[in-house]
């Protein structure tokens, strides 16, 4: 990759990367890797990681689509969670340094790769699929354009985990608090006109932890690489929980 860039247009960038391989390392450490990046065009953090991996092939991270769609390269970039593949170096670099760590709050499998099990366990609890009770219609269950529109800003979530792993409430009670990603999905199905399990879904969120541990810090909103707003979804659910008390 670097071979095709004329040497005059290169500049050295120091990457500072979290390394931990549980089968050889006693504890995690930070490793400096210097790479040559082009000065005349922007590249993404993921590209920088590929360049670093050329220098040290043992460096491990996840990626797949490299266009912000699969959600596999969520990581902590200079202190803020984001997707490496769509985060330009020009935005990420601070003081000519790029520090990469795994997303906080989840067990590290190796280097920048975390174990997402807790995250997906919480997602599973909100039953992220349509639940219907009425007889299936002949064709599909139709929605009006307005009903469909109410799902905008909800269905786009790619489950990268950036939000939940930036949420203090999720760090502290990862088994009890569902976290912003799962709650956004919960609202996505509560808000869906075709779903027929709203009451049951709300019942499941009525306890003191699943939803009510959100303290409205909005870390989730500030990191979501898709620009979604889990805090708003959470307050929509809360309003529903409160208003059904009165009825």
């Amino acid at each position: 990759m670097s071979a095709v860039i004329p040497v005059s247009h290169l500049q050295t960038l120091r990457m500072n990367i979290y390394r931990f391989n549980p089968s050889i390392d006693d504890k995690p450490y930070m490793q400096d890797i210097d790479i040559e990046v082009p000065t005349d065009k922007d590249i993404m953090v993921l590209d920088a990681l590929h360049l670093a991996k050329v220098k040290d092939p043992s460096l491990s991270y996840r990626s797949s689509c490299r266009e912000g769609v699969c959600g596999s390269d969520g990581m902590n970039i200079n202190g803020k969670n984001g997707l490496a593949c769509i985060m330009p170096l020009s935005e990420a670099i601070k003081r000519n340094k790029l520090t990469l760590r795994p997303m906080p709050g989840l067990p590290v499998i190796r280097d920048l790769i975390v174990d997402m099990k807790t995250f997906f366990d919480q997602l599973e609890k909100v039953q992220p699929y349509l639940i219907t009770k009425s007889k299936n219609p002949e064709k599909e269950r139709v929605q009006s354009p307005q009903e469909r529109e109410s799902l905008d800003g909800l269905y786009e979530c790619i489950l990268c985990g950036c939000c939940s792993t930036a949420c203090p409430s999720f760090w502290w009670n990862p088994d009890k608090f569902l976290g912003p990603a799962a709650l956004l999905q919960s609202w996505r199905f509560i808000a869906d006109s075709r779903d027929e399990a709203t009451e049951e879904r709300l019942d499941d969120l009525e306890d003191s932890f699943s939803l009510y541990r959100c303290h409205g810090v909005m870390n989730c909103v500030s990191v979501c690489p898709k620009g979604l707003n889990p805090t708003e979804a959470i307050s929509n659910i809360r309003n529903k929980l409160i208003s059904r008390k009165g009825s």
Partner: protein, 115 residues
Amino acid sequence: MKFLESGTNEFLIIRACALFMFLYGVYLIYFVVSNPGMDYLLWKSFFEGLVIKVFSTLFLISFAVHTWLGTWAIGSDYFTPARLGGFSKIVYVSYRFICFLIVLIVFIWSLIIIW
């Protein structure tokens, strides 16, 4: 869902108590501001009325409930196994005990003063 295990109830109770304490505070400030040059006798007679005694008691109940639920939320955020590992239980229980003692002492002591 039991009444006390409902996050919605806790959410509403905490806010209702806060609102009541706020209004009580506003009323108290109003009383002070509208009586310039207030002396001890006026202050004392103000708190001797039955209505204000009842409201002060309600304030104390709000304070106790609000503090109890609020400190519970803080404790169950911070003193969790995810943060403190095996120690979390003992830290949490001692913390709750101290909260309980403080709330109880303040509550009873203030009641004695008011009535």
